[in-house]
């Protein structure tokens, strides 16, 4: 196990942010996880020659034939290439999985918008690979947990590839919160609580020292520890219900839905709704969404009030957030050091 670690990381460390070489990545996966070689198939859904199999062999032809004859895979490729403009890990044949990678600019920015296209593709590749190789990350079980594991793996791999200083994944917490608030069927991708914890410890863990197996294990552990409990997820989801499905309007530059979110965020007493909503709002206020420019008196006021509420949120214990906080601010008493409400 320890021998694999240097190979794993020597090859990928401080990767050129401008280059994503799909064939090289597949070779690397074969070395790191040899048991997956003929269980996970890699496709470039934007390319003419879709199957990425960096080895000329009879097996390659067999897999190609399987794919060519599999209507489900072909229709999924079509859907993801032309409609979704996105990637996925789909079930293939005989329990195998197919990683359908969209190698152009994805429909939604997942990572910081100043990140290179290659960095984004690498992130998506790692995310889908997480689905394919890590226990509990398949779609058959708890979907949100699967997404948390996949994002955790992709973030850790990002640090291994580009270094813990790379800021390209920093927008992911806000981006996932934004999608959770506004996209339809969004409750399956709320990975922000997990990603946030990994980012908070970016300098605490020696990512480069992890072997491939340790990397998958650590991603699994982060997700298990910090993924939002389904009951809470459902509560937050219901609270943000009326915003659902408005992402198209926002992309077209309509800010009404964002104003609804502002009202929600600035008035809520539920700490998780505030946290998620504030992250989504900040994502837009910081200009991470193309076509959305939030300027003028109203938005300056929003920025200010959001900053004030965030200060209270940070200063208070999250669990005590708004338990009578407005009329009875928390304070430290002497000498017992117990947080008390003012009468």
């Amino acid at each position: 196990m320890t021998k694999i670690a240097p190979v794993f990381n020597q090859n990928v460390q401080r990767q050129d942010p401008a280059v994503f070489d799909y064939a090289r990545e597949v070779e690397q996966v074969w070395r790191d996880f040899p048991e997956t070689k003929d269980k996970v198939f890699f496709l470039d859904i934007c390319a003419e020659q879709k199957l990425i199999y960096p080895e000329e062999s009879e097996q390659k032809q067999k897999i190609q034939q399987h794919i060519d004859g599999n209507r489900y895979i072909l229709s999924t490729i079509e859907e993801y290439n032309t409609v979704e403009k996105s990637s996925c890990c789909a079930p293939a044949f005989n329990d195998a999985k197919c990683l359908l990678l969209y190698t152009k600019k994805h429909a939604m920015d997942l990572i910081t918008k100043t990140a290179t296209a290659a960095q984004e593709t690498a992130f998506v590749f790692d995310h889908e690979l997480g689905h394919a190789i890590i226990p509990d990350a398949g779609y058959r079980g708890n979907r949100n947990m699967a997404e948390c594991i996949a994002d955790a793996y992709a973030v850790i791999r990002h640090f291994q590839r580009f270094g813990a200083d790379s800021t390209a994944v920093d927008a992911l917490v806000g981006g996932r919160s934004f999608l959770f608030a506004f996209k339809r069927n969004r409750a399956s991708h709320f990975t922000s609580p997990v990603v946030e914890k990994i980012l908070a410890r970016r300098y605490d863990i020696a990512w480069d020292s992890l072997t491939p197996q340790q990397t998958t294990q650590l991603a699994w552990r982060f997700a298990m520890e910090y993924a939002m409990h389904p009951v809470l997820l459902d509560t937050v989801d219901r609270d943000l219900k009326k915003l659902q499905g408005k992402i198209g309007d926002i992309k077209n530059g309509d800010t009404d839905a964002l104003e609804d979110l502002v009202w929600k965020v600035l008035s809520t007493n539920i700490s998780d709704v505030f946290k998620c909503g504030a992250a989504a709002l900040k994502f837009c206020l910081d200009g991470q969404m193309a076509n959305i420019i939030l300027q003028g008196e109203y938005w300056d006021n929003v920025r200010q009030r959001l900053a004030e509420k965030q200060k209270i949120f940070t200063a208070q214990a999250k669990l005590l957030f708004s338990l009578g906080a407005e009329d009875r601010p928390l304070q430290r008493t002497i000498p017992s050091n117990v947080i008390k409400f003012k009468p």
């Binding site: 300098y203 020292s209 409990h229 669990l319 009578g324 409400f341």
Partner: protein
């Protein structure tokens, strides 16, 4: 709201540990949560309705109670077989077992009144807090109920009360060895409340705030169902051995010791160690773990717990034994070079 808080806590603060007055508690609950006036509070050991008010409503309630199908058989089951308590949303009733429960929850030195009080608060949690009904995820419901009972305990007896300290370990032990165990792993939640026992002014919380805070603790720290399932599977072979342990049989504990001292899974170590420590510390009647073998277990467990506490929990077992973590100049935790294997 502040007025309610004062009333709430004046009545409950620094309660006499030797007394559990069911009628007084029900009267208090009616004041704090008026909707609970519809709940049938039953003392199942006395087959008695506790309704601290002579009124026409009481008579109506008694009639309703006598017409409830299956209620009597449920009471018999809880009183004679389970020797335990429950809140039944189906009957709209709290079935409180007012004698010594079959399985303890608190420190063995706690009075029986404290234990009954704890159980009363736990069942109240099921009755008054959202998502605390079994239909909405059993383990989550138990976490909310336990969180509420722990906070109420700290309000009633003060944050220094040590009687509640054994709960984390008791729940871990029951999770591992009881048959229907996967629904009661509340330890991660109660552990977090106890860790903050001196940081929060429990006495200042109103009844509504107390229920909210219990809910929040449970939502924040309850084990995710996927992880719960993983841990559950890992402890499968211990299932159903609780009765043997209660009788003084130690072989299941030996098996647990082996598991705890060899596992690389942090959750398995954490809850396994908590359960084991409860027995090693003599908290279980009939279980005396003495002699060379158990001294060695104590020592090894202490060593492993030291590693566990010192390390990042998430990194536990990731090659930790041969590559201890150390801090480098840039403050990044690194694995030391694997001397033995090179």
């Amino acid at each position: 709201m502040a007025d309610t808080a004062t009333t709430f806590n004046q009545a409950a603060q620094r309660q006499d540990p030797a007394v559990f007055d069911y009628a007084r508690e029900v009267a208090q609950v009616w004041r704090d949560f008026p909707t609970t006036k519809k709940v049938h509070f039953l003392d199942i050991c006395k087959r008695k309705l506790v309704y601290p008010e002579e009124s026409a409503e009481r008579e109506t309630m008694l009639q309703l109670l006598n017409n409830k199908k299956n209620l009597l058989s449920d009471v018999d089951q809880m009183d004679l077989v389970e020797k335990s308590s429950c809140y039944s949303p189906y009957h709209g009733a709290m079935l409180l077992y007012t004698q010594q429960h079959k399985h303890s929850f608190l420190d063995q030195k706690a009075s029986q009144a404290m234990e009954t009080m704890f159980v009363f608060d736990h069942e109240m949690g099921h009755a008054v807090i959202p998502n605390a009904h079994y239909g909405e995820g059993r383990n989550k419901a138990e976490c909310i109920a336990d969180a509420y009972a722990v906070i109420r305990h700290l309000q009633r007896y003060g944050a220094d009360s040590a009687a509640i300290d054994a709960l984390v370990q008791q729940r871990a032990l029951q999770f591992i060895f009881r048959k229907d165990r996967a629904s009661h792993l509340t330890s991660p939640v109660t552990e977090q409340i106890l860790a903050r026992r001196h940081e929060i002014a429990w006495d200042n919380l109103t009844p509504a705030e107390t229920t909210k805070l219990a809910w929040r603790f449970a939502m924040e720290y309850a084990v995710h169902p996927v992880l719960l399932d993983v841990i559950d599977k890992d402890f499968k072979k211990f299932q159903g051995k609780m009765e043997d342990i209660e009788k003084g049989v130690v072989s299941p504990l030996q098996e647990l010791a082996e598991k705890v001292l060899t596992t690389d899974a942090s959750a398995v170590f954490k809850y396994g160690a908590a359960a084991l420590k409860l027995c090693l510390d003599g908290q279980k009647a009939n279980i005396i773990l003495q002699g060379e073998y158990w001294d060695s277990v104590r020592q090894q467990l202490a060593e492993r717990q030291k590693i566990f506490a010192a390390q990042d929990k998430l990194l536990f077992g990731l090659g930790a034994e041969d590559r201890p973590l150390q801090v480098f100049k840039n403050n990044v935790l690194k694995f030391a070079s694997p001397g033995k294997r090179q």
